[in-house]
């Protein structure tokens, strides 16, 4: 039982997908202009993550190794379409706010990475718990970042006025540069906390769990070789 709990809590803090694994940067930066959008994106991704982890874990012995990535993508795309239609039908305002980032959950690397790293190697229950934990961790960071940007950029929190009456809002926080900046600061803060508890700070993007990391690495190796030759 405790082991199962471990699978769940893993994604919350220790291996938080956004701040520790640094996956899914695109939606993190794009939709967090308001706290409510963060929650909407987070919950949609969590549903897809849990369902795809479940399906992939069930199929893990059937899918041939060579075609696993296309198979995973197809499964994920199926669930994304379902979530997309549900959101469109029941939460049209969230659908409007998330725009194309909702269907783009398909290429969200958190989902593909968890399929590749966890669900394709583990039984059903741990995979579902892992998906749930990762999803909640993702939602929490997205909501926090959305809240920060909304508070500074519009002076509101969940659309309720907080500081907007006495401090004029800094719109830059809602614009793209604000997204990069706030995320940079969050990673810096998470690094500082990690360092204090004796863990290594995050220095790079979450390549360790990216399905195409082999390609990136080989690109970087050829780079290094070329550099060595040039010297």
């Amino acid at each position: 039982m405790n082991k199962n709990l471990g699978y769940f809590t893993n994604g919350l803090i220790k291996e938080n997908p956004t701040l520790r694994l640094v996956l899914g940067t695109c939606p993190t930066l794009a939709v967090t202009t308001a706290a409510i959008n963060g929650i909407g994106m987070g919950i949609s991704a969590t549903i897809v993550l849990v369902c795809s982890n479940l399906a992939i874990s069930l199929l893990r012995n059937i899918i041939p190794d060579k075609v696993r990535i296309p198979a995973f993508i197809t499964i994920i795309a199926g669930f994304v379409s379902v979530v997309q239609m549900l959101v469109k039908a029941f939460l049209p305002s969230i659908d409007k706010a998330l725009g194309i980032y909702l269907p783009l959950i398909v290429v969200n690397c958190i989902i593909l990475a968890r399929a590749e790293m966890f669900a394709s190697k583990n039984p059903v229950l741990p995979s579902v718990l892992d998906g749930l934990g990762m999803g909640i961790g993702f939602t929490a960071v997205l909501t926090l970042m959305g809240a920060i940007r909304e508070l500074f950029g519009a002076g509101t929190l969940f659309s309720l006025p907080v500081t907007s009456e006495f401090i004029s809002p800094m719109i830059i926080f809602l614009l793209p540069p604000g997204g990069f900046f706030v995320f940079g600061m969050l990673v810096a803060a998470s690094n500082a906390i990690a360092k204090r508890s004796g863990k290594k700070p995050v220095e790079h993007l979450g390549c360790a769990s990216c399905p195409s990391r082999g390609i990136c690495e080989s690109a970087n190796i050829t780079e290094k070789e070329e550099a060595a030759e040039n010297e």
Partner: protein
């Protein structure tokens, strides 16, 4: 407005005002991951531009002649599979017929399948209800915009290598802050092309 100015404005808007990476946050992974050196950034940018244009040329007719009007909910799943197939195809064709180009771009192609910028641009062309020619130019502009952002940022990162960075910002945080500043400079283009 005649059609050539529309196309010019679509192209400019896609490169500068609606820059894929810096204002739409698509393709952040390669932007942060492959932009350490200028020539790598250049090859990746060219590969992305190529795939974007070809993917648009294929997905636009599929959407308008096969999926519309009754199967539009299949957009996501069909597009991602078509893009995966196109990337494979481009890789094979380049390998067989244009060897030097394959040597330069080959390793970046598989990375592009799961690149949200490519899927993103094909979907944006549909949601913005652009016609076929406009879509192609929008894709070309988005690709060139990606290339421009990659090149500019790789220059910034080469500078960062030797900079004296405060301890707490070392690594990923300073890269993100630098990206924020590059993105800030692109805000200056707001209004161009429209």
């Amino acid at each position: 407005m005649n059609s050539s100015t529309t196309i010019a404005s679509i192209l400019l808007a896609a490169i500068l005002t609606n820059n894929m990476v810096l204002s739409k946050f698509l393709g952040i992974c390669p932007f942060l991951g492959v932009s350490k050196k200028t020539d790598t950034a250049f090859s990746m940018g060219i590969a992305v531009t190529l795939v974007m244009v070809v993917a648009t040329a294929v997905t636009w007719p599929i959407y308008h002649f096969i999926l519309a009007p009754s199967y539009t909910y299949l957009e996501t799943i069909v597009f991602i599979l078509v893009i995966a197939a196109i990337v494979q195809l481009i890789e094979t064709v380049l390998k067989k017929y244009i060897k030097p180009l394959y040597n330069a771009l080959g390793i970046y192609l598989p990375l592009i399948t799961t690149n949200c910028a490519v899927l993103g641009i094909t979907m944006l062309n549909i949601t913005d209800s652009l016609n076929f020619v406009q879509s192609l130019f929008n894709a070309l502009g988005a690709g060139l915009g990606f290339l421009l952002a990659m090149l500019l940022f790789s220059g910034v990162r080469e500078r960062l290598e030797t900079a004296d960075i405060p301890e707490f910002l070392k690594g990923l945080p300073i890269t993100l802050v630098a990206a924020a500043l590059v993105s800030l400079s692109f805000l200056g283009f707001a209004g161009i092309g429209g």
